[in-house]
Amino acid sequence: MMRNVTTLLFLGGLGFMLLVITGTLDFGAPPMRIGTQIQQATPGDVGTANIVTAVVLGYRGLDTLGELSILFAAATAGGLVLGSAAARARPDGGFILRAGADLMFPLLLVAGLYIVMHGHLTPGGGFQGGVILAAAFFLPLLARPRTAPGHRWLMWIEGLSGATFIVIGLLALYRGEAFLTPLLDRGTLGELVSGGTLPLLYLAVGLKVGAELAGLLMRLAQDDEVAS
């Protein structure tokens, strides 16, 4: 009873607060004009056809680094909690799952790599493509649990790509610019090799996210005595 009253009071207060906030704001009149400015400045400034990428890696590259660290901490904590239990021999996935995994693996690989490498041209990028890559490498494990691949090379890929991201950022510092400033030639707008170092940064992000999440999913999939 008491808890219900508290919940009702909390919900009422939250609704009142949201009503007041939305009542005082002018709908459709954003107080910030940075959006239009970025849209005008990006083609000459950063040289990426996808403006979201210019914001994510160029103007707010440090935020992306923070995001990567948060993901790294979460994956590490998950691995710590789950432990690296030796894979118990699970039953095989069955014919349908095995055939489907064989069919889907190359398609997922191509789709993930395409999304990562065209992150500066079309919607998508390192995070989205990285998750698809993780799914691609997780699928064969689901179909054939006995052939468990090692975590070792995943850890190497993850560490090296994370280090690459930071090294590219530090190179800009060495050149006398701000951390993570896009370097190299901007190229022609809309070509695959354009946007300076941003495609390289997105490749590093994609590999890091993919390796991290694939490792997490593999840890989650190998069950120890808990599930028996």
Binding site: V52, P91, G124, Q128, V131, V226, A227
Partner: protein, 90 residues
């Protein structure tokens, strides 16, 4: 356009209700993925393809996968609810 949005919103809300009402946890996980998929379609309709891609990949794909694997690990993943007895977690 508005009709498509209405259909998607109805589907999303129905799936969200199904998450709350379903007894089978595996089915509730699938319904949660459908909610994310509907939200992703709404993002596409609102001209935000980047966010839509993230929502589809992470919300509909990865989180559903992680929830399902966690259910399997906890021994709660069952395809049929009504039957009693053996904990068959394959």
């Amino acid at each position: 356009m508005i009709w498509l949005a209405l259909i998607v919103v109805t589907l999303t809300l129905g799936a969200a209700l199904a998450v709350l009402l379903l007894d089978n946890l595996l089915a509730a996980t699938a319904a949660a993925s459908v909610v994310s998929l509907g939200v992703a379609v709404m993002f596409v309709l609102l001209h935000a393809p980047d966010v839509a891609m993230t929502e589809a990949v992470v919300g509909a794909g990865l989180s559903g996968l992680i929830l399902a694997l966690a259910l399997r690990r906890l021994g709660l993943a069952r395809l049929d609810v009504g039957t009693t007895g053996g904990r068959d977690d394959a």
